[in-house]
């Protein structure tokens, strides 16, 4: 008995929702929920939580590629069966966590993980770099301006030592979104890698009539750059749209609404770097990431320009920030003019906001520092 295409509605079940979480709790978690007292990171990638019952849980955090296969998940299950009573979990930043209920079970688990070579890197805790939250990119998405998994692999290869150690002033959260839709919500990350377009959409007049609701395409543009127009296709006049190029900010929203307006391009597309965002309310309030490098090319397969830009920012921050200071708090304290100088990033007009609410970011004080920018 299974799905019967002749009677599709027979026996259909819907709206079950997710399975109840409690059935997936390791026994030590189930016994101690709501009773945890404190925690300590006993070595990079290994957390110990202490319960008021006296119980302890040791969680071993492991980086993953996120883009993983059935075979990989089965291997992960083998590890969890061997060491963790058949339970495991994933974090919001695409790490795996294997949990054991006593300290003497930690090393055998670490040994098993190490036996797989580089497949199960242990780390991502405390004042280091944890896994990069990212989107689909070229492996699945229809609107990307860059790849996701490949860029992440290249960046994490370079930052690997920061994943397996805790030497930074505070945690550094890196995120990647492959276009401005930001499925990866990189707008509040210490370092954000963002795919951007730089060429306005083309108009496929031959196709637009069949696939596009013109009023929706026109309304989709936040700057009114998409306007009604007429064109000739096969000797017949058709209704279509045109784009006022000077008003286009390359957001791609028109293409989301209208498949006849593609804008991706090998030379036009690339990566912008934004920094200094954070989500936590710790010490300072949540902050948006700010654009510091407007464009780096899509140099496949390892994006060397992006990798070196991220590394340079991270190294400058690590050397100069105070203990507990997040990247954005550091930049705000030293002043953004100093940030550009210390990170050796050229400042351009692309970093000056000219969209909505731009004035909020203009400097309206005589307080500034005399950096090399002042000639």
């Amino acid at each position: 008995m299974g799905y019967n295409p002749d009677k599709p509605m027979d026996g259909r079940i819907s709206d079950l929702g997710p399975p109840h979480y409690e059935q997936f709790f390791p026994p030590v978690i189930k016994a101690n929920k709501g009773k945890w007292l404190w925690h300590e990171i006993i070595q990079p990638g290994v957390l110990m939580h202490k319960s008021e019952t006296g119980d302890e849980v040791y969680s071993v955090r492991v980086g993953t590629a996120r883009l993983v296969t059935v075979e990989y998940i089965r291997e992960v299950c083998d590890i969890a069966d061997k060491h963790c009573d058949g339970f495991l979990r994933f974090t919001t930043r695409n790490n795996l966590e294997f949990m054991v209920d006593s300290r003497d079970k930690v090393q055998p688990l670490l040994d098993t993980l190490a036996s797989y070579g580089n497949k199960y890197p242990v780390g991502g805790t405390g004042a280091g770099v944890t896994n990069i939250v990212h989107t689909q990119g070229w492996v699945h998405c229809h609107t990307p301006a860059t790849d996701a998994s490949g860029v992440v692999k290249a960046v994490m290869d370079e930052l690997f030592d920061y994943f397996t150690s805790m030497t930074l002033p505070a945690q550094v959260r890196i995120a990647l979104a492959c276009c401005l839709n930001m499925c990866g919500a990189v707008h509040a990350s210490d370092i954000a890698i963002l795919g951007i377009h730089r060429k306005p959409p083309m108009i496929d007049h031959k196709r637009i009539t069949g696939v596009c609701e013109l009023p929706l395409a026109i309304a989709s543009c936040p700057l009114g750059a998409v306007k009604p127009a007429k064109a000739e296709v096969d000797g017949k006049e058709i209704k279509t749209v045109k784009v006022t190029v000077e008003r286009c900010m390359f957001c791609g929203n028109c293409y989301t609404m209208c498949p006849a307006m593609p804008l991706a391009d090998p030379e036009g597309d690339g990566i912008a770097i934004l920094v200094g965002g954070k989500v936590s309310n710790r010490i300072s309030t949540p902050k948006f990431s700010k654009l510091v490098i407007p464009y780096l090319p899509n140099t496949t397969p390892r994006w060397p320009e992006t990798v070196s830009a991220v590394k340079k920012i991270l190294v400058a921050y690590a050397a100069d920030a105070k203990k507990y200071e997040r990247l954005g708090d550091w930049a705000a304290r030293i002043g953004w003019e100093k940030f550009f100088e210390k990170c050796d990033i050229p400042f351009t007009d692309k970093s000056i906001d000219d969209y909505r609410l731009a004035y909020d970011t203009w400097r309206t004080t005589t307080q500034f520092k005399f950096t090399s920018h002042i000639k």
């Binding site: 299974g2 799905y3 599709p8 819907s14 709206d15 079950l16 929702g17 997710p18 399975p19 059935q23 997936f24 709501g34 404190w38 300590e40 990171i41 939580h49 849980v57 969680s59 590629a65 883009l67 993983v68 296969t69 059935v70 075979e71 998940i73 299950c77 495991l88 994933f90 974090t91 919001t92 580089n118 890197p121 689909q136 070229w138 492996v139 229809h142 490949g150 692999k153 290249a154 290869d157 690997f160 150690s165 805790m166 930001m182 707008h187 509040a188 498949p259 593609p262 391009d265 090998p266 309310n281 710790r282 010490i283 300072s284 949540p286 496949t300 397969p301 390892r302 203990k323 507990y324």
Partner: protein, 426 residues
């Protein structure tokens, strides 16, 4: 399907970080269509552009979400990925799994799909990446009948809610994020599966102001745990930190020599409200002045804990930049109780009030945060029946352009110009 040459992707097989290329190649040994995934991706690496067509509407009967249609724009080159639809499977709260559950899901995906997944998607779902249209219904049948599991959300509906790890393994959770997330997900299945909203809508549940699930940046309704009594202090443990016997910040900085722990410098002076001080060897906190930023608690988890009168702050309207720019959620309800004891009533009443209003006034593809901006915060508060308080703003407005209502002004707006002119010649 034949093996593909992938000279560019092969260069992503070196280096210390796990390689998705190596992983997919291994999967291709038993699922040869994986060679076409690598093949089309290799072509994108060569051409530096995507090879997926725009959109494609597919799904299962009765649902308007949960499946994202996808087709290759070079199907003749890579027939194995001609259809490459995504299935979003709703994840359990906090993303704990048993291996038996995962193995069962993987067996289904081996049978009906490409064998490639994401653990997890950005919103939180399990993402099963790549299948053909004719596999969707049989997969959904087996998922619901054999596993008792279900699809998540996509499109203009409630997206699969997500939560931080909460009380199951964190000492700071101020309410049960797992229970709240699970119960509300079940309550709003119709809103998840059948699009009826102007645009997408997200809930996220974080247990404390550290906000590990990024609720304030990523959800239309952000439920962030907090407390309204006093931080609990264990003065003996404070002394242990001062003596250097406990690692500050749970050992998070142990990889570098930052010198001896200095409570004055690292805790007292970094407090954003300056509401703490040392007195007679004890740490004192003026809790009335505390804004619950979590720093002191993060630094000394064995000595300090959130209070016991706990609940959540409700913030509304976060989103990524498309279209009007990025927004964080705005604080609307400073404190409510979030508990199953009353079926999360205070929270669900508020959520439904927001939906009723937004579904009426929200424009097509307008997130609720943008609707709030368009009508203004005073209007939103008034529609929600929320009394305006200083906590709703960072600072009072600096312009005098108030939208006075007629009933707020003595005598109303109707006046007689002739009466006016009788006293004031033009």
């Amino acid at each position: 399907m034949a093996k593909r040459e992938t000279p560019l992707l092969d260069q992503l097989e070196t280096g210390p970080w796990p390689s998705f290329v190596t992983d997919i190649k291994r999967q291709a040994e038993t699922k040869p269509e994986c060679w076409d995934i690598l093949g089309i991706l290799e072509l994108s690496y060569k051409d530096r552009i995507t090879h997926w067509k725009h959109g494609g509407i597919v799904g299962v009967f009765g649902y308007g979400g949960g499946i994202v249609g996808r087709y290759a724009d070079v199907p003749e080159l890579f027939p194995g990925v001609e259809h490459f639809h995504t299935i979003r499977v709703a994840q359990p709260a906090s993303k704990y799994y048993s291996t038996s559950n995962l193995r069962q899901l993987m067996a289904l995906w081996e049978k009906y799909g490409s064998g490639v997944t994401n653990f997890h998607g950005s919103t939180g779902d399990i993402i099963l990446l790549g299948t053909r249209t004719e596999n969707l219904e049989p997969f959904f049948w087996d998922l619901t009948h054999d596993m008792g599991q279900d699809l998540g959300g996509s499109g203009s509906n409630l997206r699969t809610p997500a939560n931080c790890i909460g009380m199951s393994r964190c000492e700071w959770a101020c309410y049960d994020t797992e229970e709240a997330c699970h119960e509300l997900t079940l309550k709003y299945q119709d809103e998840i599966h059948r699009p009826a909203f102007p645009y997408k809508f997200k809930f996220k549940f974080s247990g404390c102001p550290n906000d590990c699930v990024a609720a304030i940046a990523r959800s239309d309704i952000s439920v962030i745990g907090t407390w309204r009594d006093n931080i609990r202090i264990d003065q003996a443990a404070v002394k242990e930190y001062i003596a250097g016997n406990y690692a500050p910040n749970g050992g998070a900085h142990s990889g570098r020599d930052w010198g001896k722990f200095d409570i004055q410098k690292e805790v007292v002076e970094l407090c954003p409200t300056q509401c703490m001080w040392m007195e007679g060897g004890e740490l004192k906190i003026d809790d009335k002045e505390c804004t619950r930023c979590m720093h002191c608690i993060n630094v000394m988890p064995r000595a300090l804990r959130p209070g016991v009168d706990t609940g959540a702050s409700i913030c509304v309207g976060a989103k990524a930049p498309i279209l009007d720019g990025a927004q964080f959620s705005t604080l609307i309800l400073p404190f409510i109780k979030v508990t199953k004891d009353n079926d999360f009533e205070e929270l669900t009443e508020f959520i439904e009030k927001v939906w009723d209003w937004w579904m009426e006034v929200g424009k097509n593809r307008e997130r609720v945060g943008e609707t709030m901006q368009r009508v203004g915060l005073p209007t939103f508060l008034s529609v929600m029946g929320v009394e305006p308080i200083p906590q709703h703003v960072k600072e009072p407005r600096s312009n005098p352009y108030i939208f006075w209502k007629e009933e707020e002004v003595e005598g109303g707006f109707e006046r007689d110009i002739d009466e006016f002119r009788a006293k004031h010649k033009a």
